[in-house]
């Protein structure tokens, strides 16, 4: 017990305060990216019209930001084919979640089950009062109680730390950037011919910048998202282990999840980083670990066992 307590008692209050800053910084970075994209799209299509395009880009960013804040969790749950369960179903799950929520001092989140045999779980929502935890049927079937406790403690730490809000915003903002860049590509494609003849060299530079931005911003946005999510996983592992006082439970659960060869069908690239472990079971070889959604599971297990 004492060894679990020694890595500085990081209360959820501190983690939540740190995440408030993280949210502000992330929103600023994404606003800048979206403004840059919007400006060059405008310049490209109507020289001098870059500033006029800005309000449009911002409206899109603000709109998607607000939508994600209030409805993002429902969209993600629906996409993942998660079904809400009542208080009479899955008694063990309810007991585990309620007990651990008390240990963190957060309200009991809504519970969802995904009917898929691949063991996995995620949490989403905008704050602890509007939080949901989804687990797969495979998780309920394959984990024993201490392993289930380990996984749930990890997910509830995401809720208590307000990671869920950061991830919700980032997920949707990355989507917005991708959408904008996609529009840019299509418009390059359709309007390229006529434009080139009329315009001189000044516009060529703008065009190069615009193309470079359309190419790079979605990648940069994705890298930010993945870096944020990987960092949060270690912290949630640590605070989850601190909550149950039993790091081996989560370590053993992660080992089982890693050993399970099945991918989770309802997961996609956008939601993959929300899960406790990569549900897609793909490991892109190039760029090393830059595009991983999660830290290597062996490293997470090693850290848990060292506690």
């Amino acid at each position: 017990m004492s060894s679990a307590e020694s890595p500085a008692r990081l209360s959820i209050y501190d983690a939540a305060a740190a995440n408030r800053w993280r949210t502000v910084v992330l929103i600023a970075v994404f606003t800048a990216i979206i403004a840059l994209l919007g400006y060059f799209v405008g310049e490209y299509f109507a020289p001098g019209g870059g500033l006029a395009a800005l309000p449009f880009a911002f409206a899109l960013a603000v709109g998607s930001g607000l939508a994600s804040y209030f409805a993002g969790d429902q969209i993600i749950l629906a996409q993942s084919r998660a079904r809400e369960i009542g208080p009479d179903q899955e008694k063990v799950l309810h007991d585990v979640v309620e007990a651990l929520a008390l240990g963190l001092g957060i309200p009991t989140p809504k519970l969802y089950v995904i009917e898929d045999s691949a063991p996995n779980a995620f949490a989403t929502g905008r704050d602890p009062r509007h939080a949901s935890v989804a687990v797969t049927r495979g998780l309920l079937d394959k984990m024993d109680r201490t392993e289930l406790e380990g996984v749930i403690a990890h997910e509830l730490s995401h809720v208590g730390n307000r990671d869920i809000r950061v991830m919700l915003l980032v997920t949707i903002l990355v989507g917005t950037v991708a959408l904008l860049a996609d529009w840019m590509w299509r418009s390059f494609f359709w309007t390229r011919g006529g434009r080139r003849e009329r315009d001189g060299g000044g516009n060529a530079i703008i065009a190069v910048i615009a193309i470079a931005l359309a190419l790079l911003t979605p990648i940069i946005a994705t890298l930010i998202q993945l870096a944020v999510s990987r960092q949060r996983e270690y912290l949630a592992d640590a605070s989850g282990a601190l909550l149950t006082r039993y790091p081996s439970g989560l370590a053993s659960a992660l080992r089982k999840i890693a050993a399970d060869p099945e991918p989770l069908e309802a997961a996609n690239k956008a939601t993959a980083s929300l899960y406790i472990a990569n549900p897609l079971k793909d490991a892109p070889a190039f760029f090393d670990h830059l595009f991983d959604t999660h830290p290597p599971i062996e490293e997470r297990i090693r850290r848990l066992e060292a506690m």
Partner: protein, 186 residues
């Protein structure tokens, strides 16, 4: 010039006092909220016990002292819930735990009882509630520790008592009995 320096010093002190006072209030509020969580679970436990006693009574008719003990212990725990400090409540709850254990020990002797669905549900619910109490207690004690640490470190400790802040009590259950030094007699 001296006046400006004096005003600046006084203003800085005032700001410091306000910040510290507000911090202590926040921390104490967290302790109270955490205590409310424990309270809910303890009440739930108290509510489950009469049903359990009735169910077991139906099978184990000759064990009246055990039932009397647990009923008394429950009444004491409920009474302590109304007013007593965390420490006194913990004492009452520990008595209740001991009494409950003897009920389950009695129940062990009646195989038919073990097969009754209501008994299974009740004992499952009691175990789950005790689990929840354990976690709620952990959160509460963590908050008490944060508050007490803030209260007792320098320089807050110098003036905290002026504002009427007192250290909060930890909520210690069951294992406290095990920690007592055993009395050895020759």
């Amino acid at each position: 010039m001296e006046l400006v320096v004096l005003i600046v010093i006084i203003a800085a002190l005032a700001l410091f006092f306000i910040a510290t006072y507000n911090r202590l209030i926040t921390l104490r509020q967290r302790v109270k909220e955490a205590w409310a969580d424990i309270d809910v679970q303890l009440k739930r436990r108290h509510d489950l016990i009469p049903n359990l006693v009735e169910t077991v009574k139906g099978y184990a008719t000759h064990e009246s002292t055990v039932f009397q003990n647990v009923t008394q212990a429950r009444a004491a725990a409920v009474a302590a819930g109304a007013s007593a400090s965390p420490q006194e409540r913990a004492q009452a709850e520990n008595m209740l735990t001991t009494a409950l254990r003897s009920v389950f020990a009695v129940a062990e002797n009646y195989p038919q009882l073990q097969a009754v669905q209501e008994f299974k549900d009740l004992s499952e619910n009691l175990t789950a509630t005790e689990d929840k109490i354990a976690f709620a207690r952990r959160f509460y004690n963590g908050n008490v520790r944060d508050f007490n640490t803030a209260l007792q470190t320098f320089p807050t400790n110098v003036f905290a008592s002026m504002f009427g802040f007192k250290a909060e009590e930890y909520f210690e259950l069951a294992d406290t009995a095990a920690r007592e030094v055993p009395q050895v007699k020759f």
